[in-house]
């Protein structure tokens, strides 16, 4: 049977969608496969658990892994309480109006500030103005600026997503607003809040520009927050850009992607578990 004009248009449009979707997936897989193929040969227990040594940074990347995890954890500690409290306020307490719209617009704008600018600001403010050292603390503070809007918006959406009739169940038995929010709404929103937190962590651990300005580059094993260090993305950058040790750069990239992939997987698992009971 001869195809009508509409059917042909439909087929053409459909094939464009397929190509677009295919390109997206292909790009992702190309990157993953490339990094895995070139990185996996380098990765070994020695690579993960020992220090780099020599002019060509042979050996392992252990301190950079620790520095990355350290700074990410610290920035989460700083950003999470502020962002979650702000989100609870915006979603539950604030009178919806101009002020709230301005706060939301500010958060969205903050989220779209280029990270190199955030790094410059972090350097100018935390290090030059406040006099903090190049350290885990300075980097964590600057990173938390980056994470604040991400956590705040996902938390706010999660809280708004809790059905009205669940809140009414609590109010309907004589709970106050705070009791309802703290004992019913936030626990009900928790899986989605955690998902947001984990995605923010993934963003922080891969962040390069901000830590480049604020953490220093020395290969230290950070112990206290004012210690400096070298995060994995910086290590990767320095190894690659100066051509010092390309295989180790790919090994680092592999480890970094592995960590982020693990975070994302965790986020999916948690949100999936949530959907099961929803």
């Amino acid at each position: 049977m001869k195809k009508t004009k509409d059917q042909i248009i439909n087929d053409v449009a459909l094939s464009f969608f397929w190509i677009a979707a295919g390109l997206t997936v292909a790009a992702l897989f190309a990157i993953i496969i490339y990094v895995v193929v070139r990185g996996i040969a380098v990765v070994s227990p020695t690579f993960v658990f020992t220090w780099p040594h020599g002019v060509n940074a042979e050996g392992g990347i252990f301190p950079t892994i620790i520095a990355s995890i350290y700074v990410t954890a610290l920035s989460m500690l700083i950003a999470t309480p502020i962002a979650v409290l702000a989100a609870v306020y915006l979603a539950e307490y604030a009178k919806q109006g101009l002020a709230v719209r301005i706060i939301r617009f500010a958060a969205d704008s903050l989220a779209s500030v280029p990270s190199i600018v955030m790094g410059l600001f972090g350097f100018a403010f935390f290090i030059e103005t406040l006099g903090l050292p190049l350290s885990m603390l300075s980097a964590a503070l600057a990173l938390s600026l980056l994470m604040l809007p991400i956590i705040m918006r996902t938390t706010e959406e999660a809280i708004r997503g809790v059905a009205r009739y669940i809140r009414w169940g609590s109010y309907g038995m004589g709970a106050t607003k705070w009791q309802t929010v703290s004992r019913v709404v936030i626990p009900a929103a928790m899986p989605r809040i955690i998902t947001g937190l984990i995605l923010a962590m993934g963003r922080a651990i891969g962040e390069t520009a901000v830590v480049f300005f604020t953490m220093g580059q020395a290969v230290n094993l950070p112990v206290i927050p004012t210690d400096s260090g070298r995060a994995m993305p910086i290590h990767l950058y320095l190894l690659a850009v100066e051509g010092i040790n390309i295989p180790a750069a790919f090994g680092t990239a592999f480890m970094l992607m592995g960590l982020i992939f693990t975070f994302n997987l965790l986020a999916r698992l948690i949100s999936k578990r949530y959907k099961k009971v929803d």
Partner: protein
């Protein structure tokens, strides 16, 4: 309890029931607005203590709205306004200094959609007592068991108290919500179409438990189902919005047997006999 007293059309200013101690809710000339829309007008009614009162009427007749006036649940909806008198246990619930939170503890509510919290069965029932500061495990255990038992759910869940309340069937969830409300020992339970979204077995169990707890709790039930109103209630009130966009009224109230067999108002008779709605 005297059941032969007739409560006629709304426009009373004198008490409809002689003895105020028998009246849980004394409502006079209640008007209600959603924004500019006058949803209910001039509702007057006495709700008998320790009786089951049913509110019936077609969809959109304001019966659920009226129900929510009784525990100030409508306060949670922006732009609503109430006028008139609502006395609960002879005290004005819209008076100055009345805390709606305290009112809602005494006047609990069950909703059409079962709404357990996404927590364990135990934590759902212990929620209210914990709000009141009860921390003792043995005491909480006892309240949880007693409340679930009253709600005809204990036998089904006694071995799975740590399971998420949302894992139960719809009918079980609704009984869990009833147990959760019973755990705070309210004086009144408002039920807003509690059986319209659940299975027949659970409906039966809920109707049974309503009769079982009637001597401790005053129950007001909004229902679409006239057979249910006839089965479970002692008193019935018929609400009607005659013209779309106009406020609804309370057409007639009285003992359920009278409303269903011998209504005063022609509109009530038309509704009962299925001529509309």
């Amino acid at each position: 309890m005297e059941k032969n007293q007739k409560v006629g059309p709304s426009s009373y200013s004198e008490p409809l029931v002689d003895n105020p101690a028998l009246v849980t809710f004394f409502i006079r000339h209640l008007n209600f607005w959603y924004g500019d829309f006058n949803a209910l007008t001039d509702v007057s009614l006495d709700v008998r203590k320790h009786a089951i009162t049913a509110f019936i009427g077609p969809s959109g007749c304001g019966k659920s709205t009226f129900l929510r006036c009784l525990n100030r649940m409508n306060d949670l909806i922006a732009g609503t306004k109430v006028e008139g008198t609502v006395l609960f246990d002879q005290a004005d619930i819209y008076g100055q200094g009345v805390d709606p939170v305290d009112l809602r503890r005494r006047v609990g509510m069950i909703f059409q959609q079962p709404n357990p919290f996404p927590q364990s069965i135990y934590d759902n029932v212990a929620y209210g007592p914990r709000l009141q500061g009860i921390k003792n495990k043995a005491e909480l255990d006892a309240i949880v068991e007693k409340s679930l038992d009253k709600a005809n759910l204990w036998k089904e869940v006694k071995d799975i108290l740590n399971k998420n309340g949302l894992a139960l069937s719809g009918g079980q969830q609704q009984r869990l919500c009833i147990a959760r409300v019973l755990a705070v020992q309210p004086e009144v339970i408002l039920m807003d179409e509690p059986c319209s979204a659940i299975d027949p077995t659970s409906v039966q169990k809920i109707e049974d438990l309503m009769h079982e707890i009637q001597d401790q709790v005053t129950i007001i039930i909004v229902t679409h189902n006239m057979q249910q109103a006839a089965r479970v209630s002692d008193y019935t009130s018929f609400f009607l919005q005659e013209v779309a966009g106009e406020p609804a009224i309370l057409v007639e109230s009285g003992p359920t047997s009278d409303i269903f067999t011998n209504p005063i108002d022609q509109r009530t008779e038309d509704y009962i006999t299925g001529r509309f709605g």
